[in-house]
Amino acid sequence: MSGHSGPKKTRGTRAIQAAALLVTFGVLYGVTRVTPELESHLGTVAAVGFLLLAGTLMSELLETIGLPHLSGYLLAGIIGGPHILHLVDHHTVAELSPVNTLALSLIALAGGAELRLDTLRSVARGLAWATLIQSTFVLVCMAGVFMAIASFVPFTQGMTLKALIGVSLLWGVLAVSRSPSACMGILSQTRAKGPVATFSLAFIMLSDVVVIILLATMLMLARPLITGSGSISLEDFSVLGHEILASIAVGVTLGLGLAVYLRLVGRQLLLVLLAIGFGLSDTFAYIHVDSLLAFLAAGFVVTNLSGQGPKLLHSIEQTGSVVFVVFFATAGAHLDIPLLQKLWPVAVALCVSRAFFTVIAGRMSSRLAEDPAILKRWGWSSLVSQAGLALGLSVVIAKAFPAFGEGFRSLAIAAIALNEMFGPILFKFALDRAGETTHQEPEVRPSLPPSAAA
């Protein structure tokens, strides 16, 4: 996710990168063949190095065919992961979960810091319509599609119509979840500026809150339909309301604290971000605060209530240039390829129809909001990607309905895998076509003279 698309690289550079990629794969391949049985922390260290290096190099090489860096990170993880070369095993992928926590907190913090009030005001009308239509139209349509193809879905066999409606609604919620990480990843790499970039960022960050509310609503509605007993309880809403308010309150406090630190000290931000990412995420989970929302609020406060937003964003970009590569490469390694092979026809049908209804909803909301033409054309492009948030929802649903939860989660993983692979490519393509990507050169300089480096 490092923004190093930069100047054109020569064939020599690409050849060196390809050779280095081979060395990277070769070293770990050799080591894992010599010590295949290892199951300890030691494997994790090598895996992090491999994912970081291979992800960076793969992204550089895929850049030559116009693919986003994110696809390179994912591909490196898929190839090196447990299902293909087995350089990174399941145990190691599980051990890397702290990196995911850190990356998600940085993504939310950066996402909040990117949301400027004046920018939000300029797209407020479009955002309101898009939120309404993407959340309702896509949810209902995808629930319908799920019902229509239910006969091909193994875990729905033998379900009553009522239960099927309940499961379909849950699938609908899953379909309206987006990927803040993929959106931030592409925007960070391309340094895109313009209506599509602004709208996408604002919509996806805000949709996080909407999806959380929708999930609570659908769980409430689906439970009596699926279990055939019980009644609709509003208690979930009460809990959810408290959680959202607490998250915003904690986030605002954190944001104010960060703003003061940035203003008065402003140094060692890498360590501060690491402490926030590792320390606070777990604390938030413990006190039932939604960390994504809290960090989003914190970033928003830093940008809009202080002048420290650019400093925060710069620090996150520096930290993220390493953390995000490992995060996405780990996501690639996590992809369940055999499951995808098994469920691909249903997953493809669901993904294609989701993309189709997302485009239709995008066009409808743009027309109603009288968005600029470029937004009417490409505003939907960032909404196809799905990743961690959708996986999180599938886990929640699986836990709430153990009877069919595992099957539901497997299908969700397969569908999310497809959206995770193709969504970022689509978004980058749209940004390129909308003319919002720049080819700004990163900081490049000749080697320091000895005195400067001393």
Partner: protein, 410 residues
């Protein structure tokens, strides 16, 4: 204490370390070797307050491994230069020879002592003796830097002290590669020890070349971090999985970068400031790992090893006072100044503890820790006296008025 709280504690220490590096005004603050953090770790650890339990310390093994390996990389990258000055080859050779001599004396003492007075099996005796020798062969460059900066020293003796301290790292890195390749449990059992040593160092050289090539013609700081971190972690993890020496691998990688990369100065400027933030948590973890409840023969051996180290250093100083012009007349003090040890010795002991936990590892770590404290007590004071007698600092200069002669490091 839970893992997250402990991790946050380590991050706070890193923060403190980065302030110590970054703030010119407080350079020279604290002890030269960071011994106070070692003592803090010991007090917090299972032996005293048990704030940090044994299992928690063990769960931080990957952090220790990455930390000590990163220190190896820093040592490799900064091996050939002291500030702006290139270390002369004769000084490198002298530093290596002194380290080898001290190592041989300590190893011999421990070997014979352990053979006669401890119930350890022979293979453990050899491992103990060799590792003790490696640990005692180091002279920390931080101690030299601390004295030089605090007292504004400048001259051939200050240069020689800085150069030999720096050069001692090569002996330790190579010896560690040999002992790890020799010990049972190393991967590639069908290959000879020499081949395994070559794998340890060769892995570092290959990754160093790879990193140098990737850094290419132009220097992009953001990309460089990814490449350097990626290659060093891959090298560390690969060496650790093969039960070889990660410190040796990353040292070889750093040295390769220092030799072949056109951005060696940039890389050094990037990496050197990270040393203190990494070092302090590692020293704290080392302190928390120290076990003093060892059988009496092993405690006696620790004392014997330290006595051998002191004698060997004094002997080296005496010989140098005759053979080396800058040391002339200050041999005893110069020998004493070389007693300072720190990061590398602790890193070697911790790496040994990660790979071969047990009573020998505990003894080795205790030796390294006591060596740090002893070196802290004797080393800087001896160096200051040597430099004062050599006329390279004025004895009456008050510490707070001192201006650093070297901008970033000695």
């Amino acid at each position: 204490m839970n893992a997250i709280a402990f991790l946050l504690g380590l991050l706070v220490l890193s923060y403190l370390g980065s302030i110590l590096v970054g703030g010119r005004t407080i350079r020279g603050f604290g002890l030269a070797s960071g011994a106070e953090y070692l003592v803090l770790g010991f007090v917090l650890g299972p032996q005293v307050l048990s704030v940090v339990g044994r299992s928690l310390v063990e769960s931080f093994q990957p952090v220790v491994l990455v930390g000590v390996s990163w220190l190896g990389l820093v040592l490799g990258v900064s091996y050939l230069r002291v500030g702006e000055r290139r270390v002369p080859v004769p000084h490198i050779a002298l530093g290596i020879a002194l380290s080898a001599l001290v190592s041989a004396c300590v190893s011999a003492t421990v070997f014979f002592g352990a053979s006669y007075f401890s119930p350890l099996p022979r293979i453990e005796v050899i491992a103990f003796a060799a590792t003790a020798g490696i640990i005692c062969s180091e002279t920390t460059r931080h101690s030299v830097r601390w004295v030089v900066e605090r007292y504004g020293a400048k001259g051939p003796l200050a240069d020689l002290a800085a150069d030999t301290a720096r050069a001692s790292a090569l002996f330790a890195a190579v010896s560690l590669a040999v002992i790890n390749a020799w010990l049972p449990g190393a991967a590639l059992p069908t290959h000879s020890v020499i081949e395994r040593v070559l794998v340890s160092l060769g892995l570092g050289v290959v990754l160093g070349f790879t990193a140098a090539l990737l850094l290419g013609r132009e220097f992009r700081r953001d990309e460089s971090w990814g490449i350097l971190l990626g290659t060093s972690l891959l090298g560390t993890g690969a060496a650790a999985r093969l039960n070889l020496s990660p410190i040796s691998t990353t040292f070889a990688m750093g040295l390769t970068l220092a030799l072949v990369s056109r951005h060696r100065v940039d890389i050094k400027a990037m990496i050197t400031p990270t040393e203190k933030p990494v070092l302090l948590p590692v020293v704290l973890l080392a302190g928390a790992n120290v076990n003093v409840k060892l059988p009496m023969p092993l405690l006696v051996l620790v004392a014997g090893a330290l006595a051998a180290k002191v004698l060997a250093r004094v002997l080296c100083g005496s010989v140098l006072s005759v053979t080396s012009k800058p040391v002339s007349g200050v041999g005893l003090e110069f020998g004493g100044s070389m007693l300072s040890c720190g990061a590398l010795g602790l890193a070697v002991a911790l790496a040994f503890d990660v790979r071969h936990p047990g009573v020998v590892a505990d003894t080795v770590l205790l030796l390294a820790s006591v060596g740090v404290l002893l070196g802290e007590w004797l080393g800087p004071a001896s160096l200051r006296r040597a430099l004062a007698r050599a006329g390279e600092i004025k004895p009456e200069v008050p510490p707070e008025g001192a201006q650093p002669s070297l901008p970033s490091e000695a």
